[in-house]
């Protein structure tokens, strides 16, 4: 039986770009003029897509556009997305900090938010006084706080400092105290935004445990926003992915995380923007090719991997160093390749040059990777580099020629090997 506790329908939020200045007054007057005639706000019709990296096309932007979802009682819903995708705006609307431009949210339970811990702490008051103040801000009554006082102090682990003004606390202690107060809130729906970013490992573990108790033990609903995919995976039963203010995925946590990780992944064919042509030597395109010299999008583990780098040069260079690196999704360098390592001399002629990289049996497990390329002269002078711009995706493949299409491994690499009895 479905038991919908929160229903979000068609929520949009419009923000004004730029400064508040004299222009605002005329827009306000215009809005007011429409309002008294009972007409719709004229500025709600304009507004560009929320893509932070693009130039604005309008004075207004949709931070959220037509957001629709329902949450069931006891569900832990993860909300993930890149910076500026609209996650916090959504939470702000849910926690009634600001109201939506259009749409409606209906709820059957009290919503309490834990947007940023330590909100409302007064530095001059003692830890205990702040527990009461913060609890009340979050919607608890004095009696409720009183009954949980000991538990809160215990959970925070700040017993020694409880009668000391909060201004003397370390930042970690402040977070502990604040989270402790919020953890003992008893709302029907708890909204949590990036609270685990601070605090030491022990406390993070404690906090995640507490949140699991809240959702599983007490059957309360939790909306959880985080960039920490491990925490999301551990906590959430369902996830929505936001991009540019719209929901692009709503479903199973693992699938949603994969969708999230693939945002911005470009594959197979990469062309450089023109302004690099001022350089003497520059990389203008990169192509992924299979063994038949065909372009392809997705590499499978175990495939042959061919990469053709198109380099334009304005002069002749007899000997250059080509360095390549493959980075994992967290930016960690996985391998380093170079023509120096294999003592291969590469020279450039004026005009178009193509450099090919061949890897037999691609050894990486499924995931998203970035390729870094660096060209330099033998004396160390930099020629051109590509970093974090070329991304590609690896899917499971038949690495060991066993017929299994998706080799699973616990490590990071696949390595051809043999194990037998002698």
């Amino acid at each position: 039986m479905s038991n919908i506790i929160l229903s979000v329908s068609n929520i949009s939020k419009q923000y004004r770009l730029g400064l508040v200045g004299t222009g605002t007054l005329s827009h306000d007057l215009n809005r007011w003029w429409y309002a008294i005639r009972g007409k719709e706000d004229p500025f709600l019709k304009v507004g560009g897509v929320n893509d932070r990296s693009q130039k604005a096309t309008s004075d207004y932007v949709w931070a959220l556009k037509n957001i629709d979802f329902k949450v069931e009682q006891g569900e832990v819903l993860g909300i993930i997305g890149k910076n500026g995708a609209g996650k916090s705006t959504l939470l702000k609307i849910l926690s009634r900090v600001t109201s939506p431009s259009t749409g409606e949210i209906k709820t059957k339970g009290k919503i309490a938010s834990l947007l940023e811990v330590g909100t409302g702490f007064h530095p001059e008051l003692t830890g205990l006084e702040n527990i009461y103040l913060n609890g009340a801000i979050l919607g608890m009554t004095k009696a409720e706080i009183k009954s949980k006082e000991d538990e809160i102090i215990e959970f925070s682990g700040c017993k020694m400092y409880i009668d000391t003004p909060v201004k003397r606390y370390s930042s970690g202690m402040r977070v502990r105290l604040a989270f402790a107060v919020a953890a003992f809130l008893e709302p029907d729906i708890l909204v949590i935004d990036e609270v685990l970013a601070v605090g030491d490992a022990e406390f993070q573990k404690k906090a995640i445990g507490k949140m699991q108790d809240i959702s599983k033990g007490d059957g309360r609903t939790v909306l959880f926003v985080s960039h920490n995919m491990v925490a999301v995976q551990n906590l959430c039963s369902r996830c929505i992915v936001l991009e540019n203010g719209e929901i692009i995925k709503d479903g199973d946590t693992q699938e949603a995380i994969n969708t999230y990780l693939s945002i911005g992944a470009i594959t197979s064919n990469f062309k450089r923007v023109v302004d690099h042509e001022v350089k003497n030597v520059y990389i203008h395109d990169i192509q992924l090719l299979n063994d038949k010299n065909e372009m392809f999008n997705i590499i499978k583990s175990g495939d042959d991997f061919n990469l053709v780098i198109g380099v334009k040069s304005k002069k002749q260079v007899d000997n250059i160093i080509v360095e390549l690196g493959v980075d994992g999704s967290n930016g960690e360098r996985l391998v380093y390749l170079s023509n120096q390592l294999i003592e291969r001399v590469i020279g450039l002629l004026p005009g178009e040059n193509k450099i090919k990289l061949q890897i037999k049996k691609f050894p990486f497990l499924p995931g998203d990777y970035a390729l870094a390329i660096n060209l330099k002269e033998t004396n160390g002078a930099k020629l051109d580099n590509v970093k974090n711009e070329f991304r590609f995706r690896v899917e499971g493949g038949d690495f060991f020629n066993t017929g299994k299409l998706n080799v699973k491994s616990r490590g990071k690499y696949l390595l051809e090997h043999d194990i037998f009895k002698i």
């Binding site: 039986m1 479905s2 038991n3 919908i4 923000y15 004004r16 508040v20 605002t24 007054l25 306000d28 702000k92 609307i93 849910l94 926690s95 009634r96 900090v97 600001t98 109201s99 939506p100 431009s101 259009t102 749409g103 409606e104 949210i105 209906k106 709820t107 059957k108 339970g109 009290k110 919503i111 309490a112 938010s113 947007l115 940023e116 909100t119 409302g120 007064h122 001059e124 008051l125 006084e129 009461y132 103040l133 009340a136 801000i137 979050l138 919607g139 608890m140 009554t141 004095k142």
Partner: protein
């Protein structure tokens, strides 16, 4: 199963009701109101040597200065009443209004950090300001009583009027006026910061129009043409009424009382409407 579909606790939407004053919700947050008041009072003079004595020093020195400048130098007549006592009464009452207004008019801006994170009825904050200032005023009125007794024993011609029983209501009206005006300004200041400057010097000017350091009768006598400026100022009327209650001297009329009360409630009503409209989205503009 479907019958629960209509059973929503509340709805968040973009539509705004003209008056959305949820008493039940405010009552639910009463503990927060008390804690805010406590916080304001306890923390104001933390890490000062004189502590709450500052509450007393401010009005005493202001009254003293006024007495020297306006009564001794400028020769303003205060009738039978000792000028210092006259000024102390005016200053204490004016200060209550002044601190209510300046603090509430900054509600949204100074609480933006907390308002941006959690929801609670926003009106709790201005209400707490009115109450904590009331406590401050209470302390100041004690010092007034002390001087009152001293002057009385020295034979000054002061007497409490019977209407003194209505004094708390008068103070409440003063607080509500500060609240109403403060809410209007705080709502507008979120978008247009210009008002911030207007408030800081406007309040100062307003004091001169509010019969704080002179009796209302004096303006009528000396500047009959400009007297309306003061006469139609509800604040002047409250200050004058307070002096009538405390010191037994002042000119009040029934019309003045009705006029003042209606202005105050209109301001308050308008303040609540505009505050309600602002609280929903101010965080986007502040």
């Amino acid at each position: 199963m479907n019958n629960s579909e209509d059973n929503w606790l509340y709805t968040i939407s973009s539509k705004k009701k003209l008056i959305d004053f949820n008493f039940k919700e405010i009552w639910r947050y009463r503990d927060l109101l008390i804690l805010f008041v406590k916080r304001d009072i306890v923390t104001l003079y933390k890490q000062t040597i004189l502590g709450p004595l500052w509450y007393l020093i401010q009005p005493l020195f202001t009254a003293l200065t006024f007495t020297i400048i306006f009564n001794k130098v400028a020769n303003i007549e205060t009738g039978e009443i000792p000028p210092f006592l006259f000024n102390l009464a005016g200053v204490s009452i004016w200060n209550y209004f002044n601190s209510c207004l300046t603090a509430t008019s900054d509600t949204f801006k100074s609480n933006a950090a907390i308002f941006g994170k959690v929801y609670f009825p926003r009106i709790i904050v201005p209400l707490s300001i009115i109450i904590s200032n009331l406590v401050k005023f209470g302390i100041q009125i004690i010092i007034f009583i002390v001087f009152y007794v001293i002057y009385y024993l020295q034979g000054a011609d002061v007497h409490l009027d019977l209407s003194i029983v209505l004094f708390p209501i008068l103070i409440l009206l003063m607080g509500l006026f500060g609240l109403g005006l403060g809410m209007i300004i705080s709502s507008l200041v979120t978008k247009y910061r210009d008002l911030k400057f207007l408030v800081s010097f406007g309040v100062q000017l307003l004091m001169y129009l509010s019969a704080v350091m002179y009796p209302l009768a004096l303006v009528r006598e000396k500047m009959p043409k400009m007297a309306w400026l003061v006469e139609y100022n509800p604040l002047a009327y409250i200050v004058e009424t307070a002096r009538f209650m405390l010191l037994g001297q002042g000119t009040i009329t029934v019309f003045g009382i009705i006029y003042t009360i209606s202005i105050i409630f209109m301001t308050l009503f308008f303040g609540i409407i505009i505050f309600n409209r602002t609280e929903k989205t101010f965080i986007d503009t502040v």
